[in-house]
C-alpha cells in the first residue's frame, strides 16, 4: 500500500514561503511526476514527503497515518537521489544491503533480497565492485536497488536521470517504467524535463513557484491545459502564443496553437510569413517562421522542401486552438 495525502502542506525557509498551502492525493500504485521549471519547489515537496525537511504547516499522511513526527526511515519510503548518493567506500552488495543492515535483518534473508534486486536490475556481475568502478547508468541502478530491497510503500525519485547522457537517459526511463509495471508500487518522480513527465507518468503535477498549476494525465494536460503556463510547459516544441487583434478575433486575450497543429502551404493560408531557420530531423522538420504576429514554430513532415527565406502561409487547426483570458486562464 502506498497512499500519500498532502493536506494544506506548506513550507517556509525563514520568511520566504517556498510552498504555499497545497493539497494533493497520490493513489496506491500510481506513477506521479512533479514537473516544473527549476526553483519551482518540486524537489522541496519531495523532500517534505521523504521527511528530509520538516513541514511548516499542514499534514502529510502516508497510508492514512499522519507522518509529521516520523523520521525519514520510519515512513516506509525509499528515495533515489540525483547524485545517486551511493556509499563510495562500500561494494555494490554492501550498498544495496545497507538499509537491511540498518533494519537488523538476518544475513541469509538480506543476501536473498540483495541477490533478487541485483537480478532485477542486471547487477549480479557487479556486486563486488565499488561505485567508483561503475558507469553512470550502473550507479543509478545500484541506487534503485538500494531502494527496492526496502520494499517501500512508495519510491521517491529526485531527478534521477539528469546526470546521464541522452541515450542512456532514454534507456533508464524505459527501465524505470518497466520496474513500475513489475512492482506496481507507488512512485513519485521529480523532473524538470517534460518529456520524462509525459512518457512515464500516470498523473502529472505541474508546479510553479510552489503552487500546483494543474494535475492530470499526460494527455489531459496536453489537450486541455488549464492556463498559459501549463500550455507552454507541456509539449515539445513549445506552444505558440499570439496576442492582440488576432487573438481578439477569437474572443480571447491570447491564443495558443501547438506547432503540430499548424498546416503549412506555399500558396494560401491564414498567416503569411518567411521561413527563418528550418531544422531537418528526418522524421520531422521544425520551421521557425517570422510572421507579423511574431515568431511561430511549425512542425512539418520530414520531407518538406522548405528553406530559409521561403514565403509560406500558415493555417491553424481551429479545433486545436487554445484561448486564454487576460489572467492567462483557459477560456
Amino acid at each position: 500500500m502506498g497512499q500519500i495525502t498532502l493536506k494544506g502542506v506548506r513550507k517556509a525557509f525563514g520568511d520566504v514561503e517556498v510552498i504555499p498551502p497545497l493539497d494533493l492525493e497520490i493513489n496506491d500504485g500510481e506513477f506521479v511526476v512533479f514537473v516544473g521549471p527549476s526553483g519551482c519547489g518540486k524537489s522541496t515537496l519531495l523532500r517534505l514527503i521523504a521527511g528530509l525537511e520538516d513541514v511548516s504547516g499542514g499534514e502529510i499522511e502516508i497510508n492514512g497515518q499522519p507522518s509529521a513526527e516520523l523520521p525519514p526511515a520510519k515512513r516506509g519510503l525509499a528515495m533515489v537521489f540525483q547524485s545517486y548518493a551511493l556509499y563510495p567506500h562500500m561494494s555494490v552488495r554492501k550498498n544495496i544491503a545497507f538499509p537491511l543492515k540498518m533494519a537488523k535483518l538476518d544475513q541469509a534473508a538480506a543476501k536473498e533480497k540483495v541477490d533478487n534486486a541485483a537480478r532485477i536490475l542486471n547487477l549480479t556481475d557487479y556486486l563486488d565492485r565499488r561505485p567508483g568502478q561503475l558507469s553512470g547508468g550502473q550507479r543509478q541502478r545500484v541506487a534503485i536497488g538500494r531502494a527496492i530491497v526496502r520494499e517501500p510503500a512508495a519510491f521517491l525519485f529526485d531527478e534521477p536521470l539528469s546526470n546521464l547522457d541522452a541515450a542512456l537517459r532514454v534507456n533508464m526511463r524505459l527501465e524505470i517504467s518497466e520496474l513500475h509495471q513489475k512492482l506496481k508500487t507507488t512512485m513519485v518522480y521529480v523532473t524538470h524535463d517534460q518529456v520524462e513527465a509525459m512518457t512515464m507518468a500516470d498523473k502529472i503535477v505541474v508546479l510553479q513557484a510552489g503552487r500546483i498549476e494543474q494535475v492530470g494525465s499526460p494527455l489531459e494536460l496536453y489537450r486541455t491545459p488549464r492556463n498559459k503556463f501549463v500550455a507552454g510547459f507541456i509539449g515539445s516544441p513549445k506552444m505558440n502564443f499570439i496576442e492582440g487583434d488576432e487573438a481578439a478575433k477569437y474572443g480571447a486575450d491570447s491564443i495558443g496553437i501547438r506547432p503540430e497543429h499548424i498546416e503549412v502551404s506555399t500558396t494560401e493560408g491564414a498567416w503569411k510569413g518567411t521561413v527563418g531557420v528550418s531544422e531537418h530531423l528526418g522524421s520531422d522538420t521544425f520551421l521557425h517562421v517570422d510572421t507579423e504576429y511574431g515568431l511561430i514554430n511549425v512542425r512539418g513532415g520530414g520531407e518538406i522542401g522548405l528553406h530559409s527565406g521561403d514565403t509560406v502561409y500558415l493555417t491553424p487547426d481551429l479545433s486545436q486552438l487554445h484561448k486564454f483570458d487576460a489572467q492567462g486562464q483557459a477560456i
Binding site: 526511515a73 519510503l77 537521489f81 540525483q82 563510495p88 540498518m102 526496502r150
Partner: protein
C-alpha cells in the same frame, strides 16, 4: 600549452629550493651533530665542531642519568591519548557544524579559534589550582585532558573542512535507509572521511608530542614526557650542549620517523580543500 621553463631557470629554482630546505632543517641537523661531540668540542667555532672527534658519550650519560623509555611512553600516551579524545569530541561537533549549521556556526568556529590566540600562561594559575585540587598534577590523565582541550579547536576546524567536502546527499541517503544519527556518523561519514581524520590525527599527535608549556608546568617526575626529559638538561646545572642535543635528538627521533613515513598524508592534510 604547458608553460615552458628553461633549463637554467630550472637549475636556479632547484638550488634555491634545496638551500631553503637546508636552512629550515639546519637547527635539527646541528642538534644531531652536537649530540655526537664532547661537551668541550660542542661549544667551539662551527668549523672546529665539524672537524673534531665523534663520540657516543653524551648518549651514554643521558641514558644513565634518566629513564628515556619512561619519558617516551609518557609522550606516546599523552600525545595519542589527547588526540584520540579530541577526535571523539570533534567528530560529532564537526558533523553538526558542517551538516546542520545554525545562524551562529561561523561565529562559534571563529570563537573556538580565538581561544588559540590567548597566551596559555594566562590560564596557567587557575588550571594549576584546579589540577591540584582534583589530584591531576603530574598524572598522564591530567595531561591528556589539558592537551586535548588545547588542540580541540584545531581538530574541529580541520575535520570541519574535510566534512564540508562530503556530499550531503549521501548522509541523507543513509537517513532514508534507516541509519540513526550514530549509524550515519559511524558507518557512512567516518569511513568516507578516513584520509582527513588520519591527517588530523597525525598533525595533532605531532603538536601534542612537541607541546612543552603545559607538560613542563603540570608534571614533575611520574608523568613527565620527553619535553621534560630535554628540559632536565638545561638550566639547573648550566647548559650542557652536547647532552642537551643528545636528549633532544632522542626526543624528536620517534616523531621525525613517524612524520617521514606519513609525509604524503600530512601534506594532503594541510592542503586539503585548497582545490576542488
Amino acid at each position: 600549452m604547458a608553460r615552458k621553463i628553461s633549463n637554467r631557470r630550472r637549475v636556479i629554482m632547484t638550488v634555491i629550493a634545496w638551500a631553503l630546505a637546508f636552512v629550515i632543517f639546519f637547527p635539527i641537523l646541528w642538534t644531531i651533530i652536537l649530540s655526537f661531540k664532547t661537551e668541550g668540542n660542542a661549544i667551539k667555532a662551527p668549523w672546529d665542531v665539524l672537524t673534531s672527534a665523534w663520540t657516543f658519550d653524551s648518549y651514554h650519560v643521558v641514558q644513565e642519568r634518566s629513564n628515556y623509555f619512561r619519558h617516551f611512553m609518557n609522550s606516546v600516551v599523552i600525545s595519542f591519548g589527547s588526540t584520540l579524545l579530541a577526535l571523539v569530541i570533534a567528530i560529532p561537533s564537526a558533523w553538526a557544524m558542517a551538516f546542520v549549521p545554525g545562524k551562529r556556526t561561523k561565529d562559534v568556529l571563529m570563537w573556538m579559534l580565538s581561544t588559540k590566540m590567548m597566551p596559555a600562561v594566562g590560564v596557567l594559575v587557575p588550571i594549576y589550582l584546579m589540577f591540584r585540587d582534583w589530584g591531576l598534577l603530574d598524572t598522564r590523565t591530567g595531561l591528556v585532558i589539558v592537551l586535548c582541550l588545547m588542540n580541540l579547536p584545531i581538530v574541529i576546524w580541520m575535520l570541519f573542512t574535510y566534512f564540508k567536502e562530503i556530499p550531503k546527499d549521501i548522509l541523507e541517503a543513509a537517513r532514508m535507509d534507516g541509519a540513526t544519527l550514530g549509524g550515519e556518523i559511524l558507518y557512512v561519514l567516518t569511513p568516507m572521511a578516513v584520509p582527513g581524520i588520519a591527517s588530523t590525527l597525525l598533525l595533532n599527535v605531532i603538536l601534542a608530542w612537541n607541546e612543552a608549556f603545559w607538560t613542563l608546568n603540570l608534571t614533575a617526575a611520574k608523568a613527565a614526557p620527553l619535553t621534560a626529559f630535554i628540559a632536565a638538561y638545561s638550566s639547573p646545572e648550566g647548559l650542557f650542549y652536547a647532552k642537551l642535543s643528545a636528549a633532544s635528538t632522542l626526543a624528536i627521533a620517534p616523531i621525525l620517523i613517524l612524520g617521514w613515513f606519513s609525509q604524503k598524508q600530512l601534506v594532503r592534510g594541510l592542503t586539503f580543500g585548497a582545490v576542488k
